[in-house]
């Protein structure tokens, strides 16, 4: 299956197959992407990435979220490098930890305190533990299909986990108030928390923005039960608002989780909380060898400065809309109909009449050939390093890709690698 790939990627895959289980793992594995997608990359700059064979792409994945201002932003990297050269990590935190906590608390309207960690999963797990410690209850309500990390309690695939790892969880349907109320009723007097994605950004299905009534009802139900409302902003944080993403629907959670973009790719995540959850947060024991390192905190401080002082948010929204409009028109001109869902700056693009994703896969391949790296079943991300010309180039590429797809359509077979997910 990889025999037509350029030589460096193919050689790396062969070496990797010997020393990495399955050759690669996790969300950056290309195992569920079209066969011609490169697995290995060489470098990134601004809005572009170069694969291991030197081919350049406009990268609509932005490292699956961390890239908010572009790859290799000088000022952010310089801050991190200065931290590294201060001997990072040390036997205790630096003043940057306090400064970063103060700045995040100042920026996020529901937050009174912050804790820092490394993975998004660390933050969601700490939210779970904090909610249980605070309420002295166990049951959490989550939306079916929502991704909250890859620990045993939440990983989307069950291998290696036990039924006990998933105990005390009740599932509802996102944006469905009746199902949320039913789940909360089922929890009875044991409701510790309601977890919510800021919008529905599950893989393989259309995204949907939060119904404000749903968000408000989640808040009310938590208030009535004395439970914690958690917004998992790991993926969307800083991309929807300069605040928690549910600020746009006027709802303040007790806890919010952050990661990915908060240091523009430097490794740090965070749990933010209101005073309603402080005692619980203070009582749990969580830690990591590298959690208090100053380099990514310095990078986060510089990223937050850019968040405050630039129009990155309005710009990525505008470019996302430009892309959405252009793709809509181009698809229509070639006889295709797209469902482009979610916020324009975090788009998911699916084809109508494409239940097994054969159109999506073939189109993504055609885009890749034209230098645009897109994803057929996961939301994408725009970054501040993109400009109107980049988006125009993507729309031009799409025109060619739709034309090619139209020619291929009669002979396209099902995507066999997705059969297990059908």
């Amino acid at each position: 299956m990889t025999t037509n790939l350029p030589s460096n990627d193919r050689a790396l895959r062969e070496r990797a197959a010997a020393v990495i289980p399955g050759g690669m793992y996790g969300h950056l594995s290309t195992v569920l992407l079209p066969d011609d997608y490169p697995q290995f990359f060489d470098r990134g700059e601004g809005a572009y990435i170069w694969d291991a064979d030197g081919t350049r792409y406009l990268d609509l994945m932005c490292a699956y979220g961390p890239n908010l201002f572009g790859y290799a932003v000088e000022s952010v990297d310089a801050a991190a490098i200065a931290g590294i050269r201060r001997g990072d990590p040390l036997t205790g935190p630096s003043e940057l930890m306090v400064e970063l906590a103060e700045q995040m608390v100042g920026m996020v309207s529901h937050a009174d305190w912050a804790m820092f960690c490394k993975n998004g999963t660390d933050a969601t797990t700490m939210a779970l533990m904090t909610a249980r410690a605070q309420t002295k209850r166990k049951t959490v309500v989550l939306a079916k299909g929502a991704y909250h990390g890859a620990a045993p309690w939440c990983t989307p695939r069950p291998m290696g986990t036990t039924a006990e790892d998933r105990a005390n969880q009740i599932f509802c349907t996102y944006n469905d108030i009746a199902s949320l109320e039913e789940a909360v009723a089922k929890a009875g007097d044991d409701l510790a928390a309601i977890f919510a994605a800021p919008f529905k950004h599950d893989s393989f299905v259309d995204q949907s923005l939060p119904d404000p009534a749903y968000a408000r009802r989640a808040r009310e139900l938590c208030d009535e039960a004395g439970a914690m409302l958690v917004v998992d902003d790991v993926r969307a944080g800083l991309r929807i608002a300069r605040d928690c993403s549910w600020s746009v629907v006027g709802v303040k959670p007790d806890l919010s989780t952050w990661g990915k973009a908060i240091a523009n790719g430097h490794p740090i995540s965070a749990l933010l909380g209101a005073d309603t959850a402080r005692e619980g947060a203070q009582s749990i024991y969580v830690t990591g060898s590298f959690w208090y390192a100053m380099a990514p905190m310095a990078a986060a401080l510089e990223t937050l400065r850019l968040v405050r002082e630039t129009n990155y948010l309005e710009k990525t929204e505008r470019l996302g809309q430009q892309l959405r409009d252009g793709l809509h028109d181009s698809a229509g001109a070639h006889g295709f109909s797209l469902r482009q869902t979610g916020p324009a700056q975090m788009p998911l693009i699916m084809f109508d009449e494409d239940p097994d994703l054969r159109l999506g896969f073939a189109w993504a391949s055609e885009m890749l050939k034209r230098g645009i790296y897109m994803h057929p079943w996961h939301n994408m991300f725009l970054c501040d390093a993109m400009d109107e010309d980049d988006i125009s180039a993507a729309i031009n590429a799409a025109d060619g890709a739709f034309a090619a797809l139209k020619r291929q359509r009669p002979t396209l077979g099902p995507v066999t690698k997705l059969a297990a997910f059908a």
Copy 2:
């Protein structure tokens, strides 16, 4: 309690108390250290750290393990910085991931493959999941009191966790073959894994080296049951051997977990495995936003070069023995008797006749005043940046500290902050 601290540290603590639950959390919190220990640090270089008020210490904690070759090692940092400037992290891994997997597999005799992650806890959790996926069983045997991370299944304090989080665990006593056999018998036909620290390095109690018969019996029991043997080398890895730490007792695990020092402080951890566990590893879904970043992989490659090409291991063993001998003599000259346990390069120092640690706390304070940062109840670490003069300085400081302790002894009260742990 912090009113006598120098002003920068005090001011930072006050600010932190407002925006970080408890003012600080995790293993770098000074809440269970003597009152005069600084919480915040400014920088590190070689074997030394400077606190937020500019006071310099010879650092016997080495960031709780990550510092193996010294703080701010130029060649390691340069490798990481080059990775950062390549736009790290990207939408896929770089060739460095393959190279690092190959090098770790080449170095660690039991390993056929590697997976990389961020926290030590990621690696131990992946070991747990891999063992369960490989064996299709649930029960794991662990040693009472051993630290394997801070996720709900293993965190040493139960707040925020549930009984279900700790299900399917059976505890034995480290180095006690009969108790290990009993635990395995209790697991019956459901034994997925035996977890083992490379030596007993629990907090608050004497360390002990592994009894080779215990290690061999653990291997035999796993072989008989078709279970996985896991050595958790997160803390001790690269400090005992240029291989898995149980190579010194001639026992090969199926899985070993690594972190802390493998990139000299840059954020990366790893799960290494034999082919006996490859299928399980390949089947689990684990990932993290920053796991595939090339900067810490580049740092790890340079650290491994230093591991291969320098005598850091023999040097830290020798310096550790110099420290141990010098402290033994100095303590004896002042009428004190120490228990110095574990490998000399990872020493734990406890006083005889000191059940509530009042001597240990007071002595650590006196050492701190003399510019030596030590820990009264957690193992310490030597690093390659130390030299004979540093150790002599520590022994000289100890002489003054023991003399001061002798004068204080009649008036020392119990350490109230440890009462909860008595």
